[in-house]
């Protein structure tokens, strides 16, 4: 009984972390049809921003939830102005350019922080469920993921910016006819997407050690989750993170973590073969 609860928590945690990992990429891809392959490095920089801020004496939650997203968002803004802006509408070129950026950021972080693994401790203690100890931080991640999804939904449904964003997701030229410069919208979107990446990296940092190459572990998962999710932002993220999180944890518990990861990847291949437009390309059409 206790064990099944532990397994349930671990599954929810796996789903939540996939949602966090995918969110930034999904926003940028959904709105701008740009696949940001430097997404993993944005997360990595979020982690470093948190560690640096904590090292300077900032409260760890402030560092994770406010400072890291802001800093990474600003980095994203600079990247958008200098590079991405020139490549809109050229899907493959943006992928290649952001791939280059990812290498660039790895190199830059290495030069600044060195290659040694760093990290911070989890700020929430573990607690007991029956005979088992659970990492209390897992709950924090689950809560953050849920709040994040609700937040995105709320912004999209209730605010003016959300309305424009929904329009832009349907038709890129829609916003222009409403009198908003697409340039500004793209800039804002990329800022938000980067900030979300920074947030995810910051929140996940206490669980895993950080090295400049940490981003590589995230990007493949994020990429797979977003593409398999399909065109709808929230529904796509939720459904594909749900499928992959559960599949990988089932196999992790039953066999081993490696098999869990491989199962996730095989699930992705099968899913895309059966639903070439992603889950929400077939189901939940028209949802957000």
């Amino acid at each position: 009984m206790d064990l099944s609860f532990v397994i349930l928590v671990e599954m929810l945690y796996a789903v939540a972390s996939l949602i966090l990992i995918g969110a930034g990429l999904a926003v940028v891809f959904g709105m701008m049809k740009v696949i940001n392959l430097a997404h993993g490095e944005f997360m990595m920089m979020g982690g470093y921003a948190t560690i640096t801020a904590v090292g300077l004496g900032v409260n760890v939650f402030v560092a994770m939830l406010i400072i890291a997203p802001l800093i990474v968002g600003l980095i994203g803004l600079v990247v958008e102005r200098l590079v991405i802006r020139h490549l809109y509408g050229r899907l493959v070129d943006t992928m290649l350019a952001t791939w280059g950026l990812s290498l660039f950021f790895i190199g830059l972080t290495t030069m600044i922080f060195g290659n040694t693994t760093t990290g911070i401790s989890t700020p929430i203690p573990g607690f007991a469920v029956g005979g088992y100890q659970i990492n209390g931080y897992n709950f924090f991640i689950i809560v953050v993921a849920v709040l994040l999804l609700i937040g995105i939904l709320a912004v999209l449904k209730t605010t003016r910016a959300g309305l424009i964003a929904r329009g832009a997701m349907q038709r890129a030229d829609m916003a222009a006819t409403l009198g908003y410069s697409p340039d500004r919208i793209y800039m804002a979107t990329f800022f938000c997407g980067s900030a979300l990446s920074g947030l995810a990296g910051a929140v996940l940092a206490p669980l895993v050690g950080l090295v400049p190459t940490s981003g590589g572990a995230y990007i493949a998962k994020a990429f797979i989750t977003v593409i398999a999710g399909g065109p709808s932002l929230v529904a796509g993220l939720l459904s594909s993170a749900g499928v992959f999180g559960v599949v990988s944890q089932v196999f992790t518990f039953a066999i081993s973590p490696v098999i869990g990861e491989v199962a996730l990847l095989i699930a992705a291949v099968i899913l895309l073969r059966l639903l070439p437009q992603g889950i929400t390309g077939r189901f939940f059409k028209g949802k957000l």
């Binding site: 064990l3 532990v6 397994i7 671990e10 945690y13 796996a14 290495t110 060195g114 290659n115 040694t116 693994t117 760093t118 990290g119 401790s121 989890t122 929430i124 203690p125 573990g126 607690f127 007991a128 005979g131 088992y132 100890q133 659970i134 990492n135 209390g136 931080y137 897992n138 206490p206 669980l207 895993v208 050690g209 090295v211 190459t213 572990a217 944890q249 992790t252 518990f253 081993s256 973590p257 490696v258 869990g260 990861e261």
Partner: protein, 407 residues
């Protein structure tokens, strides 16, 4: 596939170009020491201090007049933590630079990538890293600790400290981890215990949530963790975060080699049991003097670790062998080293074992405390008995295998 069986396809002298011509006379002025280490990329926490230690040793020797009256010249290549570059630079060192000795290689994968090249080109090779043991090759000298020197004492001690017989092993999934896990199983059984489960993790696994739940289901008395690299460090964090650290004790054969105890907080690290031949916290006159020399050369000595010190020993051991042989000629140096040369340094005495080309060293049982390693007990001059059991280069000098423990 031994050397004498090899019949190389000849290339004409014209094709061979300058690389194959006899070395120019002026090169005889210096003795060339090759170094091949990851000083960038994900393994640079290991490689950078090793590179510094190598240069420190070379500078010391040069400052004292060199070897055989000749100065040493370092030819160093950074393999960027990329296994493919190892073979490339090894060829460069042996065929183009024609160095007299090569020190380097960190992961067992990198050693195996270049060992045959060294052997083929008759270039003396020093591998100065703690590893899984069993390499039997007259061209290589390994002075790092092997499982019998380390795990054999660590396992029974940790079991005694833990006060139980059930052991859960978490090992890195490559040959170091695989072989070490088998040694652990042997030593646990020898101590009257039982390994309830062994899990292997590829080097990029960083999420141990499910594993921690599984461990609790198995409820062992002790966890032995030969985990390697930055990703695996998260296990120790997640373990502490789940509140398990004070319930089941931990021992590791690898944690701290890259100074990981300085990355973990005291709450995460304190109490973890390890065994190494060196720690910068050893309070001996030799070590304090060494740290001063290091500080004079590089400033802060906090990056120092066992692998760096082993490299330092490796260079001095080789230099002593050359002095004794009176030449840098390969076979003469090997013969001199096989007389059982001993070198004193920050970690005590390292003695070459003629039978296996490994080293007899002191081993310290230690616990992490406040981001330092606290020496609990020191075991003097432990020979590499695991390799000795399978390898005898005195009777079988043509041997060229890496033996693995059979269970």
């Amino acid at each position: 596939m031994t050397l004498n069986r090899r019949k190389f396809l000849g290339t004409t002298a014209a094709m061979a170009g300058t690389a194959m011509l006899p070395r120019a006379v002026l090169a005889a002025d210096t003795i060339k020491v090759g170094s091949i280490l990851d000083t960038s990329g994900i393994f640079d926490a290991y490689g950078k201090p090793m590179d510094m230690a190598l240069r420190l040793a070379v500078n010391e020797i040069n400052g004292a007049g060199g070897v055989l009256g000749r100065q040493l010249e370092v030819k160093a290549y950074d393999t960027q933590s990329d296994m493919a570059l190892y073979s490339q630079y090894a060829q460069q060192l042996t065929r183009q630079d024609k160095v007299d000795v090569v020190h380097g290689g960190i992961l067992s994968a990198s050693r195996e990538a270049i060992r045959q090249t060294m052997r083929k080109t008759n270039t003396l090779y020093f591998y100065n890293v703690q590893y899984e043991g069993g390499v039997c090759d007259r061209n290589i000298f390994c002075n790092g600790v092997t499982p019998a020197q380390q795990a054999e004492v660590l396992v029974p001690w940790a079991m005694k400290e833990a006060g139980g017989k059930k052991v859960y092993t978490l090992a890195a999934d490559y040959n170091y981890g695989q072989i070490t896990a088998r040694w652990i199983q042997k030593f646990v059984q020898d101590a009257g215990g039982e390994v309830v489960e062994t899990d292997f993790f590829p080097l990029d696994v960083a999420d141990f949530g499910a594993t921690i739940a599984k461990i609790q289901t198995a409820a062992p008395d002790l966890i032995l963790a030969p985990l390697v690299g930055g990703a695996h460090l998260s296990f120790f964090r997640q373990w502490a975060a789940s509140g398990m650290k004070d319930k089941i004790p931990l021992a590791s054969t690898t944690l701290g080699v890259g100074n990981e105890h300085k990355v973990l907080t005291p709450e995460e690290g304190d109490g973890i049991m390890v065994a190494y031949s060196y720690s910068q916290d050893l309070d001996t006159p030799a070590n304090n003097a060494f740290k001063e020399r290091w500080s004079a050369a590089y400033g802060d000595p906090s990056a120092l670790h066992e692998l760096a010190v082993s490299t330092y020993y490796g260079v001095h051991t080789w230099a002593k062998g050359v002095e004794m042989a009176g030449s840098v000629e390969h076979d003469a140096v090997v013969k001199a080293l096989e007389t059982g040369i001993a070198v004193d340094g920050p970690a005590g005495t390292y003695t070459v074992d003629p039978k296996t080309h490994h080293s007899t060293v002191d081993v310290h049982l230690m616990k992490f405390k406040d981001q330092k390693m606290d020496v609990i007990e020191t075991l003097q001059q432990r020979p590499p008995i695991d390799t000795q059991a399978v390898c005898d280069l005195e009777t079988n000098p043509d041997d060229n295998t890496q033996y693995e423990i059979q269970i």
